[in-house]
Amino acid sequence: MTRKMRRIFAFSIAALLVVGIASGVVLAKKTTIVHWQHHSPARKEMVEAFAAEFMQKNPDIDIQIESIPETDYFQKLLPALAAGAGPDTFQIPAGQVSSYAATGVLQPISPKVTTAAQIEADFVPSAVKRLKMGADYYGFPVDTQTIVLFYNPELFKAAGLDPAKPPQTWAELIEYAKAIHKRDANGVTTQMGVATGGYGPVLASLMLQNGASLWNSATDLPDFSSPAAAEALKFATDLVTEYKVEDRQMGSRWNAFRQSKLGMVFAHPAMIGSFRATVPDLVYNIAQIPAPKPGGPRTTLLTSWAYVVSKKAPSEAASKWIAYLTSADAQKRWITKTGDLPTRKALLDLPEYKNDRLLGPCMESMKNSVPAPWTTRRLDDELLRKAYELVILKDESPEKAMKWLSEEAIKAEKEQKALAKP
């Protein structure tokens, strides 16, 4: 190598280094937010679109989205948080925000983005109640769901029922279901009247409607021992065992509803998005869930997740991003694409929602919603369904099943509380 070539080589290396450092400095100016959420195709598409818009409005912030299948979500999230290498923003069940916050892996929403007073002024109280610890809010509500009654107007008409008048009481629901339910000559169900699916939030909603509080404020623990709770469980199980208008042999209640083989189904409004994507031509209506007695309350359990900010995240940028995801504009788009209910007060009474055949009853259900007071996820996911199955599969009395449920719920909740206070 000649001296000249050595000089050119040395100069090139130096130039590369300078350019590299300079571009590093430029890149370093950009704040990167790594966002994790559990996967659904519609949700991923939405969040990616929001990210693109957000980055355009905030060129100094880069959003990196990772959409993880729900079955693997906590397997990835928990070790990542423990290792301090987790995402900057992510979603967790709203009931668990206090547990996560107590462990120190979360930080409150930056006051530069919004204040606690502003959150309380803007959001429906039931949607943000579980997100507050002390004076601070640790997240924004997302995937907010109540329980409503989906029904098939064609099957109503065929059964001689008025599709404009959905059932208002439990007794009417049974009457309607009997009218819709059909069996063949062998007694095999060919068309089902109604389905709860024994789904935990549906059962809890029926209990709340019937006046059971499900929570003992003296012990600060779940309480399913009231006669009102047992009565609600009896109502749900009687649909299967006594009135035989819900037949588990029909298989998936969603498939039955999609095929117009099911008259009424208790479900989350999120099913609007699912039906829109899978059976766009399906004709159905939505009503608030019927009350136990005429004029009774239409209370429904509110379940939701929360977008939260991890301890290590750049506070302002991360809070700004999740505030954007739950802004009024964003919530308007969430409801049309995925069926996630808006949680901002200002949106609930908008005429376009209030007068909508499908969304109107969902907005009303938001006003009647109560957040689940417990922290343990086992209650919604597992224990309520087991109490239901104890009655329909093992012929236990509803009272005995509720006694078992109370004991198990207290055990599970105590365990979660102990985790948060080691």
């Binding site: 079955t71 906590f74 397997q75 928990l78 070790p79 948080l81 423990a82 547990s99 996560y100 462990t103 120190g104 892996v105 095999v188 169900t189 588990r248 042999q249 029909m250 298989g251 343990t376 996820r377 086992r378 996911d381 369904r385 087991k386 199955e389 104890l390 599969l393 093992k394 599970a412 365990e415 979660q416 985790l419 948060a420 080691p422």
Partner: protein, 308 residues
């Protein structure tokens, strides 16, 4: 050079050159990536898991108080753990013998000069490579109470129909059938490989001596398949004790815990309830059970196995 080194060199009779040192080290250098990887993904996590089992350990909580044998004693009052253990034993008893027997029969069949045997081999192996999420959907339809294949056959035979995945009495049977279906192919390949390793001359000599088909199988095939049988049995039983995915996608442990198995319970206690200490203790109890069962198998069958 100290006296020890001098002695070593003297024993070998050659000086310790750099080339010889390299040759001594080389094998260890070559296996080191594998050893490091194995340490990282198996040994260290195992030791770490054992350590966790003596602590109250919620993965995201920074404090992990020592509880000694507390998690192990807490297991005694975990009713669902014992239910899961019993269900796992039922699952293992239902899956392993049938799976091994069917795999052996299929391997014997496909080891003959059957027309289109490559196609059949592929057909039997397909369930092994089919993603469980896809097979689960297919099986859910097969088990469908109204339109499913199973109940159609039951109706043809004038037998009572069932809601296979939703009834306490049939859910475990339904899971066992799917497990056998998905596991036979892999075991069949092992038996097939072992069958093809048996020299033809043994059969020829026996046939000259007048041995019939059953005698050939009883006195040549079966004894010479013992190493493969032992391997298949041990791995099948270990795999059965570790069943998780099939239960997770088909029944989620229900109805009423009738298909709740140990690993599924461990998973739920760890990632659902954040009880990692307790879940680690359960894992080591399961490990001990598998170890004892494997040792018993080894004792009963292993010593009869000849690899010559």
């Amino acid at each position: 050079m100290n006296s020890g080194s001098r002695a070593a060199v003297a024993v070998r009779g050659r000086p310790l050159t750099w080339h010889r040192v390299q040759r001594m080290i080389a094998p260890y250098v070559f296996i080191s990536p594998g050893v490091v990887f194995y340490l990282m993904v198996t040994i260290i996590p195992m030791v770490w898991g054992f350590w966790i089992s003596f602590h109250k350990w919620s993965i995201i909580w920074p404090a992990h108080p020592w509880v000694g044998l507390g998690n192990y004693t807490a297991l005694l009052s975990e009713d669902l753990f014992w239910t899961s253990l019993r269900n796992t034993a039922i699952y293992t008893a239902g899956v392993v013998p049938v799976e091994v027997a069917v795999a052996l029969m299929v391997a014997l069949l496909l080891n003959t000069r059957l027309r289109g045997r490559s196609f059949y081999r592929l057909l039997y192996y397909l369930p092994v490579v089919t993603p469980l999420s896809i097979s689960a959907v297919i099986w859910q339809w097969i088990y469908h109470p109204h339109v499913g294949l199973f109940n159609w056959v039951m109706r043809l035979l004038r037998l009572p129909t069932h809601d296979w995945l939703q009834e306490i009495g049939t859910a475990m049977l339904a899971v066992i059938i799917v497990a056998i279906w998905s596991g036979v192919g892999y075991r069949m390949v092992i038996f097939l490989a072992a069958l093809q390793g048996i020299p033809q001359t043994y059969y020829e000599a026996a046939m000259i001596d007048g041995a019939g088909r059953f005698a050939l199988f009883r006195y040549i095939t079966l004894p010479l398949l013992k190493p493969a049988t032992l391997f298949v049995l041990v791995t099948s039983i270990i795999g059965s004790f570790q069943v998780f995915s099939i239960v997770n996608v088909l029944t989620q442990g229900g109805p009423l815990d009738s298909t709740h198995v140990v690993v599924y319970y461990i998973y739920k206690r760890a990632f659902g309830d954040l009880q990692f200490g307790l879940a680690a203790a359960m894992s080591f109890v399961l490990f001990a059970i598998i170890l004892v069962v494997t040792a018993i198998q080894w004792k009963l069958i292993g010593r009869e196995v000849s690899y010559e």
